[in-house]
């Protein structure tokens, strides 16, 4: 008997999962974020190095090196501005990197969150507040208001809310896996306050900040990328049509 039931696809429940896996795949193409984080870190390192070298050169009276360092510092500050502000080229760099990394798989886009569309200024305000907090912590740390070893736990007070804000601000463009970064950052801060032996000393003091910021970011984005591979596999398992379907007419 020809019934509507006969026409129902066999794999209905699996087919219903297609949007879920598609979205999870698109949300976790995070190697692009990783590449952008590496670019930002490199620029920040150039800023730090040129400031430090410029200071040394000034003390020693090498004015040529001072001017070279000033030039490099100025150039890298412009780069930082371009890379970090979407309107001034950040989005173009992001798209370019995304195409280089994931272009073979095709281009996908998730709708921009309503909050981001309506209140773009909020992103800039939070970014500014974050930068002020970063500079304030560095200033207070060097002035001796708290031990340098507590720099990371103190920074967690604004880094964690900032990362959580970024997640909610960008959702659904990013997935909940991105919350791993603030979670790890918090655990790291708690461990330091509790006295766990995870502090770097001597010449490696800088790693006390570098590891939780760059390291956990690196870990989060790498896990995100592998999850996107898994999601793509799941999606293809469901959506693949063997040998192509009829012409569709």
């Amino acid at each position: 008997m020809n019934t509507p039931q006969n026409q129902v696809p066999q794999d209905t429940e699996k087919l219903k999962e297609i949007p879920k896996w598609t979205r999870r795949y698109a949300q976790n193409r995070t190697l692009t974020n990783l590449a952008n984080m590496v670019i930002l870190t490199l620029v920040a390192m150039v800023i730090g190095a040129s400031s430090y070298l410029g200071g040394l050169a000034f003390v020693r009276g090498n004015m040529i090196l001072v001017w070279v360092c000033m030039g490099v510092l100025f150039g890298s500050l412009i780069c930082l501005f371009i890379v970090s502000v979407p309107k001034f080229g950040g989005i173009k760099i992001w798209r370019w990197t995304d195409r280089r990394i994931y272009g073979q798989e095709g281009i996908t886009a998730i709708p921009e969150p309503e909050l981001m569309k309506k209140k773009k200024w909020l992103g800039y305000v939070v970014g500014m507040v974050f930068m002020i907090c970063v500079m304030g912590t560095v200033f207070l740390g060097f002035k001796g208001y708290f031990a340098i070893k507590y720099m990371q736990p103190v920074s967690a007070l604004y880094v964690v809310p900032f990362l959580v804000f970024l997640y909610f601000w960008q959702r659904p463009k990013v997935g909940p896996l991105m919350l791993l970064w603030p979670i790890l950052y918090t655990i790291h801060a708690i461990l330091i306050v509790a006295g766990a032996p995870i502090l770097f000393t001597g010449n490696l003091t800088g790693f006390n900040m570098f590891l939780p910021t760059f390291g956990y970011g690196f870990l989060t984005f790498t896990i995100g990328h592998f999850y996107s591979r898994y999601a793509l596999k799941k999606l293809k398992d469901i959506a693949h049509l063997d040998g192509g379907s009829p012409s569709g007419v």
């Binding site: 281009i107 998730i110 569709g248």
Partner: protein, 99 residues
């Protein structure tokens, strides 16, 4: 109860479902995900576009042309209706097809 024949075709149903999870996806993504030939995929998306279920956006990435597809409001409604009908049939008593 009859199913929307445009959506009911397996490849077109999958295209609609993929686009339902995104804002837009390009031709290449659909091609690799669905494992269709270029010609078949083109015909399926043309059919969906002519039904008003998809909108097409052509752009250039440098010098390379890129075609992206987006589910329209009409397409979203049709897809939701399709699943509603399908679930009703799956859960309901067996009936002969109406013409």
């Amino acid at each position: 109860m009859e199913f929307d024949k445009i959506i009911h075709e397996p490849a077109r149903l999958r295209i609609m479902m993929i686009l339902n999870g995104l804002e837009q996806a390009d031709f290449n993504f659909l091609l690799t995900t669905l494992n269709l030939t270029r010609g078949n995929l083109s015909r399926h998306v043309e059919k969906l576009e002519s039904a008003g279920y998809l909108s097409v956006k052509k752009s250039f990435s440098g010098k390379i042309p890129n075609t992206s597809y987006q589910l329209t409001q009409k397409g979203s409604k049709a897809l939701a209706q399709y699943w509603e009908n399908l679930d009703a049939v799956r859960n309901g008593p067996i009936q002969p097809l109406t013409k």
